[in-house]
Structure formats: structure tokens, C-alpha cells
Subunit: 493 residues, 4 copies
């Protein structure tokens, strides 16, 4: 099949009828409801259009997919470091224009994790999950089905595991099995992009124990599967004005509480059902693959911030002030550090027995951690460089009010006598990025997106070669012997 | 006069008819327009009510004022360290309930700076400004006139001083003088609270040189003085819902671009006119006094954050998790550091020849700087502790939608089976504080409010006793002599 | 008795004959051994001389002590905020000249904690410990006995409490009781200044449980009590040259491993013996009182660093470079933040039932934590401002080598043609402070001195008024009601 | 020629007779003087031995060099990304054992910069410098001549350029030219490793202007060239004990003040003489190449720190304590961030017209900056995890004193009853690394080694693609057009 077009994508949405709630209403058509337009643009039409853009297509098109054909890079499964690098670049380029669009590969990331885990599972247990995943991925790639990731359960009491909750539904679980398929019940939180997606890919959120086996379940279903309810939350408002909100008027990522009210899944779409020992690997590998792309996306976003900082500094006439340059330089250092983690995680990746490529987990997690701390610093620097105007500049209606516009043009100029309107545009851009409701989304996303900092730290500690490092220290205890080739074997500690 | 009541304040607003623009409309009555209600509550009714509140009045009422009577503490001028401490406590208590209300004393802070500067000016020049300021302050205190501070000019090209701009109006200046008064033209940016205030107090934004003397002008005028136009910007929206926005539905601080289109000011309200040598002192002392109260307000806000962090940790069932406790502890450390700077700046204050008390400038600026960096860290910790739900929790209309509410109550519980609604309330509180448009205001305010970090650093460097410190180092060069009482005088460097 | 003189102190040392080991030798006389001279100067002669110095005596002499007479401030027990402020100033002034001397009050801090705890203990148990402590303190004050604090046990397996260790001696404990006194066995680590002190004050290192009761023991003994062995460690070397080491040639703090090999303590010197419930309070209150003085000492040290930074910047000709000024300003901000915590902990202190004053524990711990992080930043800034010369400047013997001195004077000048030697002195000062073995002591001391950061955090979390903060958040959930006086009582969480 | 052996290197030192001053003495033979042994081991015998070590030789041997033969990797010039990666690995592996040895390639880095600059220079000016450099490099590689870098001039008044100084010798300059060669006068500071090197490679320290042309000079000379005086400074002491100082007893880097007292250089060793336009490129490219290797070395050092932290945590019995794991994880994150910058700077390097490979300058400088900040954090964490014992543990002579050893073994154990001596060894290792005179060297080196942080920031700002970033921001001002392919060309700012 050819590369999917934005229009084909919109048609596919119109052909689906999910049960979507927003602001107390059931939504008939997300395509026609203004509340969803920014998310549709961000995760949908922009992502698909980019593969047709002459300047971007070299990065956006990958091949061969499992059908032996070319596909959109965000539907491609990495089998070598170059694939990971292409993915990193794609996420970066998409996010330079639409910061949240770099996360649109999340369903692909789950499927790559499932391809790896089911490979091991089938080999160890004689099951046939992998063939089902492969079959699903072929269609996923051929049609470039837009998928959302339903991962995080609502969890109830966070100090108890799934089977220990007093309400068994606080983690998604299998409540019935038949010849045709399974029935699941529960609820996933924080399902980004579900309402503009065609399908959901559902995986476990954590490692499990034997008595949690009913909770070890993975599958893919269309968003309009009966019993599924999506309760939405968006950020950019229904009437985002392009002057006031130059980014968020086309960049948003609706979230949903995703309720599975006894949803039936046919066996050919079931990718894990009861094999609790594999839940942890699926969750971890997904996070790891996902964080690799996250780094590319973050670099795109940071480059936009750096550009805005430099631009506003020039318009304010302070681009040469030392502390302004220092702050921009610090933003550059952060952006480059994130990029370096992304590149090195790709280069120093390893190949799984299934043939798929796993980015280095310490580096993806280190990078994600830098993203998080760096976002707050970059936002602060951007606001400091801009001054108070992102916050206090008048509403667009007043800027262009006939009685006021002459005053605005007179008084909002910076160094350039005719620069008032451009300067106001930049102030609005900065407000939109880091001092708006959309900005509020980012302050949260950068922490919890693709997993929490606490989870990242656990991964880093666990995956680093501490044994090698400890041995270096033990060898050092022997003094000069360590550099004179006379080391005696250390007793283990 | 008795302490002003909220109703008296509202009546006073109704009796004024400023030229206010918002969203492309001239506003007839700010009291009756929903867009202004949060600001009116924050800076107005809450501040006045607090002085009548049995639990708060001991802190909120100060005496004697210049009329020899008691007044609201935010209308009181400090003449000793205890006054400064009372002001700090007042700002803190007000902000604990309504974070932005702690800044409502800003007009008082300008007037205190004017009382000091005109005292010196009159003594040195034989002018009679001080008597005018005193007369104004007496009425200000007696009636508890709510005033906004018009300080920051629009500035045009930031690399040029006022007289160097190619448009002379880019800093506010005197364009005419007559027997009755002066006429001023120009434009002030970032005038917080102007639309809910009774009057504006206007002072220079910076130190000036001789050719800037027309720009050295200070005065006070009612907000409905002819020629004055207020172009507004607010943050919490017109229809803020108390469930969605428990704080910003009553806590906002409308900003304005404040245009002076040939505004007449009678001489009895003119507090500086041409004496350019005093512009810097007025601006600096204002900033210094103002930053002292800022610290109290920031502590109030941070205590609310700490409480929200602790509460959500308990509801999530993770209050005993070490990294959660660490983060709350770091928030405590920040809050206490800000408080300590505020207290010590008050205790180690100095008395100006006019009899008014000046907080220690290094400590107020150090504290303000900690506020700024601390805000970003505290916000991040609060969001990390809360998890993703501040961002993704459904709209209030869906939470209480009859079809959805049972699911919401089932799935949003934490450790407590019946705790879903309270937990959602807390998530909304946290979103409102640090991940909303109102939160966006804060990320900017904490940097630029009461002056920029760059200005704070200049003050700290300039005001610290570097000579004493350098002498310590020079004495240390003499080795043991420094502790044996044998120091020889160092040559100066 | 009059204020003790340095000579009286030295005589007292000569009259004692502790069992001191250093570099494999038993030391006959610490006064006459060059290894101890810096410590004797720092904790001893300088501290005593300061009380006789005309410029310092107003701060250094306090009264009345328990004998109703005046004494050295470091032997004075605080009974009000002013006493605490005097202590803070004294620690600061001493440390400005000799950074480690500000810690010389540590034995006094233990005794103040014992005065408080035994007051409660006697009242609750009918014991008579307090009278013994009072009697001891009277002599301590009258004679200004220099005491070291033996607090931290060697601890063995850190995951077990005292009674759980497989060797019972890993915490100091009572092994025999008789009519005359007790016999103790065990070992304390990190006993600062013991070898130049007259006596040791020994207290428990932590809270205990019932089966630890033999470990709940406190007392004071002369350093030459039979069975006591002090195994020393110093930092500044035996032959510190004043040019190379202008500070550490008179500022050092020898540490000891302090072995109690069945040491007898007569009952009149026993201040706790078995009452395990009081061990925690003694340890905590000691830490709290001690950290208050720590803050003053740290400010003294930081002021010396700031002076050195400013001085070297001027000599290098870069005092006006923006990033240099920024770094000095950051050092100022840190110093002022520590000072503010110290002042506010003193002002907001509380009075114990025994009449002694307890500094605010959240503020002392917050301040100590800032000291620690600030030290590393201040050291880094100081070294960055200085350039590489602290590290690479020649040895003093080469600087004044006849053949080399002309080259040195030619090539080490900065802006001043004749400034080479002074510039080299400053480089040596900076090296001594932060890039030497003595500097290495500081990098450790600032973390572990007066307790670890982890302990500080526990105290801050435990002592902060989290209930009040949580209530603020709960009230905020009610929206406008919180500022309109309509709050309904919250259900507790 | 075969790979140089440690013995061949030592022989070469014995055959040279440089004029070396240390502690007021002229040194006859550095090989036989104990003060130099650690530096000789670190930069010399260890570096050469590593190429013969079976486990390391694959990394340590590179080919082909300019003679078409294999050589030590630190004598190899990179012509592609793989060469840079090999260099990075080599620096890391060497530094894992001997942290300062990873910098031993510094002379090679200067020569690579000269190879590039003289290529351009000859092409543009018709000179023949490049052939001289090539000829020198061939011998340099064939014999594996150990070279030190003389770069930083003493500089005098830092606010003036070379020709503006009132003493013309404050930057190294040509004072005579003859048919045979040139005569130079001046003085370089901070020449690391000069006394254990065979030759010095001398380049300009900064960009120059036309009137500075006599200062634009580069060349290579043996360390015993007449007129050259090396005034030394070392750190680890002459008698470093392997128990007390397990690292610094074989890891030191003597620095020298390097005086050129009218030193003659024959033309075949002169690589720049007067062409001031090339001075900046030589200095910058050297710094850039050098910083790439610096990153590898820093990773080696950080891995040793991480190992020491993990080891001491285990011996103390606290390896599972959350805040301990957090700190080790933060060290891991730092180490991986530095590594990622090094790898990515190598992968994203560019090829100079001369055929040599230039690492990405933004990434090398970003990485170096992270090294610097990270060092202070890693050192602090290491000391916090270890506790106070690195500072207070007894001298080795007391540990093994017959009377004391039983006490030491009893009381210094941690969790392991027999672990006292190993635990003490680790404490000594940690003290040696970060709390000793050697540690003091590191606190300075990490700031100023390979150029100052201020210089790094200038490079990052200058080399980043700010134009691209600014364009992103300008495109974003157009709103949805940016993702819909409808961008209009922005007016330039």
C-alpha cells in the first residue's frame, strides 16, 4: 500500500464510532468537533503529511517493513542501529514543528516490545503468540493504522499488587475466556491520543507474580470496540487562536481515561494471556524503545525553545548581553546532552534474538532524566529572556482593536520601530510554549511521559555495569599493581 | 476611619469609571464582569475581609498610621523591624489562602520609597514634595485606597536610555507644565491589578541622567483620570469552575498595558518632577521594600504547595516512599530558606533618616532569587508526587455525568475505597497551581515580579560588604599573624 | 575566675598525659609536637585569645554563667534568643580568621543538651542526674575547660541496632557498675579535637530501645583517664609553611579514633546510665544546638572565600567580567542564605522547661544542608575565578630561589607590574582553602560534620508543621469558601 | 619501529638533561627522584605498557600512522569517526586505572591541529609549514616521543592582548630570526607533564591580531633545549604510601612554569612564525580535539568513582538504602552523559580538507562542561556514601601498630567481622580520590584542564546552528501553516 495520506487518515476516523465523552457530552464525530482539531493535526495529519513532504520524506519513509514494502518510519520496527537513528531523526524533525507529534510512534513501540517478548515466550512455552503479533503488525504497517498505547492502570492502592487490591478491577484483567476470545475488564489512565487513533494497543503496566496471571494480558482493538469508553481531557481549548496560540492551535495531545467495560477481544488479537512471567519484560522493553524516540522529540522541542530565545533576545535588543548568552548556551548544552544520549543509545544498542534492536537502556533513561530537569531550566530561561510580556501582552482582539492598534504598534516595538507585531507574536509563542495551559501539559508530560523519573532511576541502576565498576575499585586497592600488571584476584565482597 | 470592608471597596469600584479594554471590548463595570471576579477577590475583598477576620486581625491591623489611627497592615509604613515582621506575616497569611494576594501592598511600597526619597530631596533642594506625599499617604491610609504600581516603562530599544530613544514616548515623561499641574505621556507595561484598584502610583523604573530629567516623574492618580487607558490581560478565564480551578477561581491578578495619553496631574499629586538624581533611589528602594513582602507571600504559596504534596502523597498511598519524602523535604527546605531571608532582612533592617525602615537589600534580593529557582523545583516535585492525573483527570462535567460517575468513583480511588472525588479534587488543585494557564502566570511572575533576577544580582553584588570580605582575605595572606594579633596593615589592592 | 588565657590553656595541656598515637608513635607532649600545632592554635589559643582581643571581646564574653560570672561565649549556655545570636556571631567571627575554630563549642553543645534532658529525666524518674551535670558545667565554665565531643560510635553493621551487633562492643556500653562508678567499653569514631582538649563529653549517638539500655550512657572524663586511647589523624602536615599554607598552618582539627578500653567513670561524672528513652533526645538536641553554631562558622568561612574570590579577580584584572561577578554574587547569595537560616533559627527558637533555649530545628537543618551544597559550589567558583595557578604555582622554595625569583616576579604579575608575590600568595591561599589536603578535610567535614545530610532531612521532615500545610491544601479544595470565611471542616485524611 | 616499551621510555628520559627545579633544588635525574615517580608511572610507563597488555592492546594500537606502520593510539591522528572512537576508548581504559593518564595524548592533539592549520596556511600562502609538521609527526609516531603541551601564556594583564602588555615577554614571542632558526622568549604556565616528557609542542594560546604577529609562533623542542627552565609543582608527595594513597602513589601529573629564556628553534621545527591569522584556529582546534579525549578520560575516572561508591556502600552495609542508590544512580547518569557526548562528538565529526577528523565542537564543549559540574557532584556523593572515615581513619602506621591493630580490626569492621582492613583500604582510596592533595588537583583540573568553562561556553554558543533554530521559531509564528506546508518566507530579523 502507498503511504497513507492525511485525508485517508481523516476518512478512517470518520468511519469509526468510538464512545467518546468530553465536557459532559458524547462526541459524535471527533473530526468535526473543534476540541479535537489540534490533536488530530499533531498526531495525525502532520505525521502523515511529513512522509509526503519533499524535504522530510527521506527521513520519514523506511523500508522494508514486514510486508517487504516501504512504510512510514513511525510504523517501522528497528532491526539495526541505523533504524534507531532514523527514528531519532524523525521524532526530532516532527517535533521541531509540532512538539507533541514526536510521540506518535508509541503504539509501534509497544508492538516492537511484543514482537520481542512473544518470540521468547513461544520458544520457551510452545505458544503461538508471535505469529499473531506478526500478522497484526503487517496490517498495522500496510495501512499505517494510528494506534494509542493503553498501558498505565488506575492502580488503586499503590502499595498493593494487582491481585492484592480489594476491587479486582483496579488493574485490567481477563474476566472470561471462550473459544473465540477473551473478555477484559478494568480501566487504563493517561491514554494519550486515543480519541484520534484507530486502535488501541494494550499491554501490562508492570512486572507481575503468579497470582496476578489474569492481569497479564496484551492485545489490540479498534477504538470503537463495544464496551470501550474514552473519557477525554484536552489542553488547548476549543477555540485556540493562531495569534494567541501559534503552537497549541495545532499541537495538542488529548488524554483519556479508558474504561474497558467487559470488552471482547478475539484470539487473533490477543498477544499475552496469563503468562505473568513476561509482563515485566513487555513493560520494560516498551518503555526503553519509547524513551529512545522521546529523546529525539525532546531535542526538536528544545531547538524550538532555543530559537525562540534567540529571536526574542534579538527583538528585545539584548542578544549580546552576557547573561542572556549564558542562558541560551545552557539551553544548547541541554539540547545537545539529550541528543547525545539518544544517538549513543542507538549506536550502542543490542540486537534481540528476535532480530529487533534494543536501545541501550541506561542511556535512554539517563537522557529522559536530563529531558525532565532540562525542560524546567529551559522554560525558565526562555521566560527570563523574554521579560514579562508573554504574561501581560494584550489579547489579540485588543491588539487589533481599531482604537488601540496605533498605541500597540507604538509601544510594543523593541529595537525595530516597525517590529511591534512580530515582537508580540514571539511573546505569544513563548507564552504558548511555557506559560499557558498547553505549557502546563508540558510541565507534567516531561515528568511522567514514557514513565516516571523514579522508574528511570531504577532502570539506570539495574542496567549499569556496576560489577565492572566495583572491580575497578577493588583493583585500585592494590595500588601500583593495578598499572603494573601485577593484580592479584580480589576476594569478592 | 474604620477598617475598610469588602463592600465599601466594591462600592468604590462601582463609583469609578476607568477606560478598560479586554478581549476587544470596553468594559463598563469591572465589578459586574465575570472576567474580573477572581482579581477582585484576590486583591480586594479577601485582603479587606482578612482585617475583619477574628483569627487574622491581630496580624492584619497595624497602628498608628500617619493619621495616628489604626489601619490595614498593607497600608502601614514600616518604621521599625517589628513593622517589617508584621508585614511579612501578613503577606504570608494572605498568600496561604490566595497566593497572589500577598502582593497587594505594592502601592504602599512605592509610597514608602517616595516618603524616603522626598525627605532627602526636600532637605537637599528645599523643595516641598514630602509634604505632598505625606498628605496623600494620610488619605491613602485613612480610606485604605487600593493602589496599583505603574513602574515599568515599555522601554523600546533596551540598549538606550530614555532620552536616547528615537520615539520620546517610550518612557513616560512630562510633556507640559502649568500652574495647576503637569501633563504626562507614555506607557507603562505590566501594571498588576490596575483594573481593580482605585488609583495608580507612578514612579520611574530606573536611574536616570541629566538629559532624562523629563522622565524623572512620580505621581498618583485615580484610575479613571481622563487620558488613561488600561488594556487588560487575565489568566483564569471568565468561567473558572471551583472544582476545576479551586484556587484560580478566586485568585488572579489582571495585568494591564497602561497608556498615558496626555494625562493631567495636579501639583498636589506630583511627587517628583525633573529631579533625575532621585529616580534611581526611588526605583531601588521600592524594589527593596517590595521584595521583602514578596518573600512572605512566597512562603504562603510554598506552604500551600507543601500541603498539596503531602496530601496527594497520602491519598496515593505513597507518603512513606523515600523519594517522595525527600522531595517534600526539599520543598520544606526551600520554603524555610525564603522565610529565613525575609525574617533576617527585617531584623537586620536599617532606619532611613526619614524614620522609615529599609529591609536589608542583600537579603531581600537573595531571598527573591531563591524564590525564583525554588518555584520551578517545587512545582516539579509537586507534579512528580501527584503523578499524571492532574493532567489527565476528566473534566468536571464528565466526573459528575450520571453515566460516568460510577466508573469515576470506582476507578479514581487511591488507597481509600471512597476517596475518588477528594483525590480528583486534589489533582485539580495541583493542576490549577502548577499546570494550568494560571500556573503559567506563576512561572513568569516568579521571575519578573518585583524585578528581574539580573537586577537582583546587581543589587546583591553592589550592597554586600565586599571590602570587609576582601580584607579578611588580605589578612589571611599573613598566615598565623591573623590569629595571633600581629597583623600588619595590608597595602590596598 | 578570670577569662582563661592561651598560656593557661597550654599549661593545662602540659599537665595532662593522654595516651595519644600518631604515625605509629606514642606522643609524649602534644604541645611540643609540630603535628598538633595547627589544631592547638585553631581550637585553643585563638579561641581563648579572641576573648581578650579588644575588637572581639564584646562578642566573645558572655554572662552570667551558672556561677553568676562572666565566661567565654563558647562556654555559655543559651537561655534566650539573644544568647543564640551572640553564639552565632562568635562562631562567625572566629571562623573568619580560622575556619575550623567556629566548631570549638561542641562540648558545650552536648552539655546544654544534657542539661535539658536530665531536667526532664529527673522530673519524670526522680533521679538526680541534673545536679551532677550542673555541678560539672559550673566547673566547665569557671575554668573554661576545653572539651571534645565523643558521640559517633563505630557502629559495625549499620543495619543493626546496638544490642543486635554480634560484637557487643561496637557501641560504647556499660560493662560494670560499682558503688563508686561505672566501667565502659567500646569505641567512638571521628572525635574532633580530642587531643588538644582537656576532657571528653560522651553521649549516645542515636535513639535506643529497651534492650539497648546498657548503651544509654553519658559522662565526662579527662582525656588522660586510664584506658582511654586516642588514635589520631590530622591534615595540615607537620611542616606547614605559612606561604604555602597561610590558613592550614594555623587551622586544623585533628580527629581521633577514641578507644574506651574498660574506662572507669565515677558517679559524679555519669550523666545517663541505662535510661534508654532519653538517648534520642540527647542526641537530637545536641545536633540541633550544634548546627546553630555551625551556621555562624560556615558564614565566616564563606566570607573568607568571597574575599579571596574578589581579591584574586582584582589581581587577575577580571573583576568586572560579567561571569566573574555572577559567580561572586552566587557566593554572596549562599553566604546570606546560611546566615539567614542561622539568625532565624535563633530568633524563632523556643525555651525548654529547663530554661535553656532550643534553636528552631527545621531552620538549623535547612541551613546545614545549604552549607553543604553551597560549599561545593563556592569552592568551584573560587577555583574557576582564580584560574589554574593555585594548582601550578611553584613551591615556595623555588619562588624565592635566587636564580628563579627574577623570573617569578616578571612572569607571575597580573595587572600590577609589582604584584607577582602578592598574587602568588593569594593563589596559595586559595589552594590551601579548597585544593589541598586541608581542603580535602573540608569537602568531607561539610557533609558529615554535625551529622549527615540524611539525618538533616529526617529532622526537617519530622519537625515541619506538615499538619498546618496539609490543612491549607484541604481548605483550598473548597474553592472560594477559603477566602470568604465559609470553610466547612474537612474530614481528616 | 616496534611499540615503545616502558623501559625504552625510561632510558630516553635518562638520556635527556632538562633544567628542572623543584623544592628549591635543581633535579639531576627525574627518573631517580622520588618526587617524579607517580607522574612517570601515570603518563609514561603505564601508557606504554598498556599497548603491550594482552587485554588492552586491541584498543591501544592503531594503524596506519604517517609512516604506514602501527603505533600507539595516543600517537595516532584521527582521519575518520572510528579513529575518534578508538581514542575515546583508549582514554577511558587508561583512566579507569590511572585517572590522569587519559590526558597523555595532549601533544598529539596539538600536532593534529597543526597538521590541519598548516594545510590551510600553505595552500593560502604558499608556505611550507605542513611538510615540516608531517616530518616531525613521522618521527613522533615512529619513536612514540612523549610530548607535553606548552599552550597557556602567563598573560600579565588579562584585559590586554599580547602586543598591548607593558612587558612584551608576557606572551611567548619571537625575538630573533636567522637563517638557521628563530629565538623565542617568554613563559608558559600550567605545562602538564613536561618533566617526564621528551619534547614540548608549543602553540599560541589564543586568536591574535596583526600587531601580535611576533606572538604567532608554534614549534617543537626537546625538553633539554638550552634556555628552557622547568619550575615544577607536584601533588602526591615524594613518599606516597600505597595503603594511604592507592591511586596517587602512581597517578600524578607534575605541572611546570616553563620559562623560555631566549631559546633557539631551528626552522625545521618551526610550525608557525608570524602568520597571526592562524593562531586562533590552531588554539581552537587543539582544544576541540583535546576535549574529545578528555571525555573518555573523565568517563574512566567516573567509573572508578562509581565502583568505589558501590563498594563502600556494600562494606558499610547500606547498599540497599534508597538515598544511597539514588546517589549512585546520579553518578551513573553523569558518567553516561559524558560518554554520550564523547561518542556523539566522534560520530558526528567532520573531516577537514587536510584529511583529519574534527570532533563536533558543540558536543565536546558540552561534554567538558558536564564533566566539570559532574565532578563536584560525584565527589560529594562519594564522600557522603562513605561517611566520615576517609577523613578520620588512622594513619597506616597506626593501623598496623602491634598495640593498636587488634583494636583497629575489632572496631573498623562493617557488616563483615573480618572486613576491617579492606574497609579501611576503601576509605583510603576514597580519601585519595576526592579528599586529599591529589583530590585538590582534580577539583582544579576539572575546571581548567583543556580550557576554562567560559571558553567552552563561547564555543558552544558560536558553533551551534542558531540560525536553524531561529528559523524554527519564525516559522512557528505562522501557526498551523508550519505543519500544513503553507509557510511564507519570514522576513529576516
Amino acid at each position: 500500500m502507498a503511504l497513507r495520506t492525511p485525508d485517508e487518515y481523516l476518512d478512517s476516523l470518520r468511519n469509526q464510532h468510538p464512545e467518546v465523552f468530553a465536557r459532559g457530552q458524547k462526541v459524535e464525530s471527533v473530526v468535526d468537533h473543534p476540541m479535537f482539531s489540534s490533536t488530530i493535526s499533531c498526531w495525525g495529519t502532520w505525521v502523515f503529511r511529513a512522509a509526503h513532504d519533499p524535504e522530510l520524506s527521506a527521513t520519514m519513509v523506511a523500508s522494508p517493513d514486514l510486508n517487504g514494502e516501504q512504510s512510514h518510519v513511525f510504523w517501522h520496527m528497528a532491526t539495526n542501529p541505523d533504524d534507531l537513528m532514523q527514528n531519532l531523526w524523525a521524532a526530532r524533525l516532527l517535533s521541531e514543528r509540532s512538539p507533541l507529534s514526536g510521540y506518535a510512534s508509541i503504539g509501534r513501540d509497544e508492538l516492537q516490545s511484543l514482537l520481542m517478548a512473544t518470540h521468547d515466550l513461544d520458544r520457551e512455552r510452545g505458544t503461538d503468540y508471535n505469529a499473531r503479533v506478526v500478522e497484526y503488525v503487517k496490517r498495522f504497517q500496510r495501512e499505517q493504522i494510528l494506534t494509542a498505547a493503553a498501558v498505565t492502570d488506575v492502580k488503586g492502592d499503590r502499595s498493593r499488587r494487582p491481585a492484592e487490591q480489594d476491587d479486582p478491577d483496579l488493574y485490567l484483567h481477563v474476566v472470561d475466556r471462550s473459544q473465540d476470545g477473551i473478555v477484559v475488564r478494568g480501566c487504563k489512565a493517561h491514554t494519550s491520543g486515543s480519541v484520534v487513533s484507530n486502535e488501541l494497543v494494550v499491554i501490562p503496566t508492570r512486572a507481575m507474580r503468579e497470582d496476578d496471571s489474569d492481569y497479564a494480558v496484551a492485545f489490540a482493538i479498534p477504538v470503537d470496540t463495544p464496551g470501550l469508553k474514552l473519557v477525554c481531557r484536552g489542553f488547548s481549548g476549543e477555540d485556540a487562536n493562531e495569534f494567541e496560540a501559534p503552537i497549541s492551535s495545532h499541537d495538542d495531545l488529548m488524554e483519556s481515561l479508558t474504561i474497558f467495560d467487559d470488552v471482547f477481544v478475539p484470539w487473533e488479537r490477543v498477544f499475552l494471556c496469563g503468562e505473568w512471567e513476561y509482563a515485566g519484560a513487555i513493560a520494560n522493553n516498551f518503555a526503553n524503545v519509547n524513551r529512545q524516540g522521546y529523546l529525539g522529540a525532546d531535542v526538536g522541542k528544545l531547538r524550538l525553545y532555543i530559537g525562540a530565545a534567540q529571536l526574542v533576545a534579538e527583538l528585545n535588543g539584548v542578544a549580546q548581553v552576557p547573561h542572556i548568552r549564558d542562558k541560551i548556551t545552557e539551553m544548547i548544552r541541554l539540547e545537545r546532552s539529550v541528543w547525545a544520549c539518544g544517538v549513543t543509545a542507538s549506536i550502542e544498542s543490542t540486537r534481540h534474538a528476535s532480530g529487533y534492536q534494543i536501545p541501550d537502556p541506561v542511556l535512554t533513561n539517563a537522557g529522559k532524566n536530563v529531558c525532565m530537569e532540562g525542560h524546567y531550566l529551559a522554560a525558565r530561561h526562555l521566560l527570563e529572556i523574554a521579560g514579562g510580556s508573554p504574561m501581560t501582552a494584550p489579547y489579540v482582539e485588543d491588539i487589533f482593536h481599531p482604537e488601540l492598534q496605533p498605541y500597540i504598534e507604538k509601544y510594543y516595538r523593541g529595537a525595530d520601530p516597525d517590529g511591534a507585531i512580530e515582537r508580540l507574536r514571539v511573546m505569544k509563542l513563548i507564552r504558548d510554549l511555557v506559560a499557558s495551559e498547553y505549557g502546563g501539559y508540558w510541565y507534567t508530560e516531561i515528568i511522567h511521559g514514557s514513565g516516571s523519573p523514579a522508574a528511570e532511576k531504577i532502570q539506570m541502576y539495574r542496567e549499569h555495569d556496576l560489577d565492572y565498576c566495583r572491580q575497578l575499585a577493588q583493583d585500585a586497592l592494590q595500588g601500583r599493581a593495578a598499572v603494573e600488571g601485577r593484580l592479584e584476584p580480589s576476594a569478592s565482597v
